[in-house]
Symmetry: D2
Subunit: 382 residues, 4 copies
Amino acid sequence: MKRKLRMGMVGGGKDAFIGAAHRMAARLDGQIELVCGAFSSDAAKSKASGAELFLADDRVYGSYQEMFDKERALPADARMDFVSIVTPNHMHYPVAMAALDAGFPVVCDKPMTLSLEEAKSLADKAKSTGLLFCLTHNYTGYPMVKQAREMVANEQIGKIRRVVVEYPQGWMATLVEESGQKQAAWRTDPSRAGASFTMGDIGSHCANLAEYITGLEIESVCADLTSFVPGRVLDDDGSVLLRMSAGAKGVLWASGIAVGEENALNIRVYGEKGSLEWHQQEPNTLLVHWLDQPIQVLRTSTDFVGASAAANTRLPAGHVEGFIEAFANIYRNFAQTLSQRLDGDRSATGDFPDADDGVRGMAFIEAVVKSSKLNSEWTALK
Amino acid sequence: MKRKLRMGMVGGGKDAFIGAAHRMAARLDGQIELVCGAFSSDAAKSKASGAELFLADDRVYGSYQEMFDKERALPADARMDFVSIVTPNHMHYPVAMAALDAGFPVVCDKPMTLSLEEAKSLADKAKSTGLLFCLTHNYTGYPMVKQAREMVANEQIGKIRRVVVEYPQGWMATLVEESGQKQAAWRTDPSRAGASFTMGDIGSHCANLAEYITGLEIESVCADLTSFVPGRVLDDDGSVLLRMSAGAKGVLWASGIAVGEENALNIRVYGEKGSLEWHQQEPNTLLVHWLDQPIQVLRTSTDFVGASAAANTRLPAGHVEGFIEAFANIYRNFAQTLSQRLDGDRSATGDFPDADDGVRGMAFIEAVVKSSKLNSEWTALK
Amino acid sequence: MKRKLRMGMVGGGKDAFIGAAHRMAARLDGQIELVCGAFSSDAAKSKASGAELFLADDRVYGSYQEMFDKERALPADARMDFVSIVTPNHMHYPVAMAALDAGFPVVCDKPMTLSLEEAKSLADKAKSTGLLFCLTHNYTGYPMVKQAREMVANEQIGKIRRVVVEYPQGWMATLVEESGQKQAAWRTDPSRAGASFTMGDIGSHCANLAEYITGLEIESVCADLTSFVPGRVLDDDGSVLLRMSAGAKGVLWASGIAVGEENALNIRVYGEKGSLEWHQQEPNTLLVHWLDQPIQVLRTSTDFVGASAAANTRLPAGHVEGFIEAFANIYRNFAQTLSQRLDGDRSATGDFPDADDGVRGMAFIEAVVKSSKLNSEWTALK
Amino acid sequence: MKRKLRMGMVGGGKDAFIGAAHRMAARLDGQIELVCGAFSSDAAKSKASGAELFLADDRVYGSYQEMFDKERALPADARMDFVSIVTPNHMHYPVAMAALDAGFPVVCDKPMTLSLEEAKSLADKAKSTGLLFCLTHNYTGYPMVKQAREMVANEQIGKIRRVVVEYPQGWMATLVEESGQKQAAWRTDPSRAGASFTMGDIGSHCANLAEYITGLEIESVCADLTSFVPGRVLDDDGSVLLRMSAGAKGVLWASGIAVGEENALNIRVYGEKGSLEWHQQEPNTLLVHWLDQPIQVLRTSTDFVGASAAANTRLPAGHVEGFIEAFANIYRNFAQTLSQRLDGDRSATGDFPDADDGVRGMAFIEAVVKSSKLNSEWTALK
């Protein structure tokens, strides 16, 4: 890269976890600089957040529309190069559409939209504008997830037969949304979160991870969603049987009521010749079982992992790289691609999730919700 | 106990893993003595097996019928007190029926029979004869499984919401039944194994374990069975959604094609106030998550486990008690109860699985097979 | 084996953990039968213990001398074949000497004696009588310990450079010996336990394990023993630097005051080409690191372990074999050797620790105690 | 903080791991901006490194002396606020002395100097100038290390009896310094690394960590250093017995020849009422054993950790924070203190290691080297 890229942000004011995570991820490698933001729909809050981030006051905006307008009016060597959208789910669509319309490449948190229809519309927009669009399915940024994908692609573990992927959390085990927990409040509100809490917030990560590693597609689902906590509108627990392309089968489950679980995203992939096991909470390790040799423990940054893992690692082995580093890999890979585009390579692409992943994610969520309503009838993803 | 109990055995000749396991389990506490056996339907093989076990030649029989007849004819202070049945599945029913008819209490390997109908008939026989019947769902013999059950019963973790139980194995990932692997041969033959390999052999352990720990019943299932290995008749992989009594939900899966997995029976139980996690391959530990305090690691033989775990442990903490010890707990609890019966307490009962568990197991297997045939329609256990 | 071997026992009355452990170990494989015992120096207690074990009353003796006399007088096809000595440490020497004098092969708990001098005398006696002598350094009975030894012997991990072995326990963190804990009482009494608690009871296991796996000898020690708990006479904690043959170095420590530790015997062995790691509390796993390939996890009963591990395993992979099974391997290997001897092969030997290991253990204990008294001066084992 | 702090850097050119680590750590929280550097003693290399970091060409210097001179000449609102020194060990002393003389606060990598004498001289200089000095014993930046320190300080685990701390690595198991491995080359060269490789590079982390957590001081050491790899000048392995203040004892070892180990810094601290266990390679977990309750697993970002851990965490529980985040805590705590100083609070201090820690580290190294030369004689730290 010849210069740092300039980032704007929509959402991510003071108390928002995910905005701070995006900023740390963008910052880590020193290739991206936050230059402006519309951190809240409340202009005063936005200003206060911007000040905390040492932004010039005239680059902190009261609304995303204002930001896109004013940034577009700045000279090319000052205006933001792309926008990062870290609002609650329901705002992803309008903000991203506006950004693309204004000519800004987009990094957008997931799930991409509230509905499959919106997602398709947004993907079409990205395609028609030719602008880069990155969806932060951040768990695919982990080096050992990339190692797993590479091993499957290289046919090291053979044809995939079974996938088991799960994402249990415990923080929604009681009615926290009623006690002022903002993160919980919007996630359990259909108008802001969409048709499902568990599938939108965490199940979609499972689906994305399963498809990313295996290179297969989830074709149909048989699902049972439940709302366990009295007074909650959306589901807080869900189990899904999977039928994937090439005859693979699977189980996917996600839960917010799994008391004591933190972010226990785990995946196991069983092939004809070997199997892979990865745990997000201990992400530098990939366990490999083989038909014909002992269990292996592959570790980040050792000589025994492939090129894609190596390219997404920063430290020598034994120095844990965690959530922020994985998230930063998404930003880094996006930034490198954007930099190539800015340098004139209009077809440059990179290793980060895009609008198509977003469409698949929304198709998954809609199919799961539909199947559950049909008493677990097998339902195809559209 | 006033004297050692005398055990006869049907099945379990030279190369049978499960027969040897039963004998070690029966032997461990010095309260049971193997006195006779019909180890094979081939009389010469039976004799050879008996000789290896240092049995008197006249107590080694060529058939179970012969054994029951001749043992019955022996004086009361010499004849066997009970029979242990460790044949392939299809023989459980006729041998157990004959044993009960001959007046012998029974320890029987699982699954109890080939069909639910047989199971009910056998349970009726056990009831009508009043003879003790023990089904070796041996995994319930582990102290930390009993601890989990006790904690649920004491309402320590609150109302149960979700159960996740799985039993992956990898030994059937190729067509081993064609290469002389006897264990695989009968388990994949419907006439000897029943309607399902995965559910009969390992899935039924999952179901039993889930019910044992939670005290709930699996009410209906939504299942997807698959036969992955070309040339195999029975399923070798299966996933099941569960609906249990009191509104609990769950996921159960079992597989023979999970390359590299050994006997990874694992269970997690999520309640309103806490959750429990247990792994058969590291059985002396029970992980407990709480809503309002840090994760706890409960360990066998410490001061921090309850009476039922303590009663099923033999060693100080830190000295691993494994599969044989857990299996021996089934035998020990059965033997103590039988001893009480022999001493005249005709209503003595104990902590071991019985014919009712066997019926439930067969109902589970049949419902799963039916649901899978109906493209995963929810199917009630009968 | 042509018949079961007949075992007598000295010590191991009702409340003694180690006596019960020996009996379960002896019993597990159905090749050894307990026929007599002098379970306590109190004749009434001995009788009561014998009755609980279903022994004939005339084979339960009031003293070991009586037992040796009367058993010797029995016909050859009735008398005990060997004696197992499970008394507190101070009685090992006189009982074992008497047993050998009476012509009985011996299985003896460790440490072998109270002093190095006694140990040498006992080893000489074993040699001069030509009788089998087995010292139950039971941790060497674990299959994965044998696997480690085999890998070192086969030069798979190269020349050994460093050994780290430790045995922390927490049960002596307070003055339990004053509160009626019998196990603690004799272990902290120099007249019954010897010159060191930590080194006699648990450190000697470390030393034995390190030598067994590496095939090297501990040549000199630099030690620091401490008695932390006020009012305790013997040490309850000790750290030792090791210099071993062939230039290897090491660290060994053992402690009774490591609060919360159970029996956390762990060993790591670092060679020029690879390294090995084993934990007694998860004994079915051996972790192997290599210079030039990924970490491997070797597991009991898989195809990927060698002959010595395989010969000391009873179950398919994934079914934990624990403390009793490992202990039983010592008994089984002893019994097979004794059986060969009884069949006329007078030079038969087997894979179990013997009197020479006992002498080395006592030399280790004495050198550690001496070094500690000399303010950690390097002290050679004699 | 009112503005970002401006950082200069000495050392840390293109291929240097530690320079990149420092930069990511400084960058993570968006409070520190790299504005200048003397990245190499080779001016061209320095320029090239600066360009990669998007620095203005006139702020990239050919030597640290030039940098200090020219930065001092800049206006106060442009010049660097502090300097980060990330050179090989032998340059720490002259660069840090020059920085302090030029009036710049210092962040310096460890070990602080080549000798205890230098360290004392540098600490005196820091004291006399009144400038902030931070030594990057980065492992103390982990939240669960701070949690451990807080629990000890709060007397939750009682008086400390025993500490076991170790830092095995395997990368030096062969003569890598001869094959162009620059990191290895200077670390094994006494003129650049000091009197000991293992103790200077990794053992000093162990000593610092043990003292940080326990609040005790290492008073004397009994050490055995070894150079295993033929052709290597400095030691590559070392074991140390510790005597600490308040009667605590310990074992410390560090090794570069522990084949297959990555950066396995581990510590266990045993007190009278509880014990603590922490592993750098899984840093978000602190295991706590208690005398009178079950084992607890404390996890970063949960409600069950104290204020100091919470203050050094950025993400919700279950999202791993690793090496960079811990390192960033050192920088953040330093930056906050420096900011307070710049705002006029001249006595502001913070939670980061300082020159006194550096002096203690050098005293530890010198005592270990001396003890080892004296055949492991107990040697006091001066």
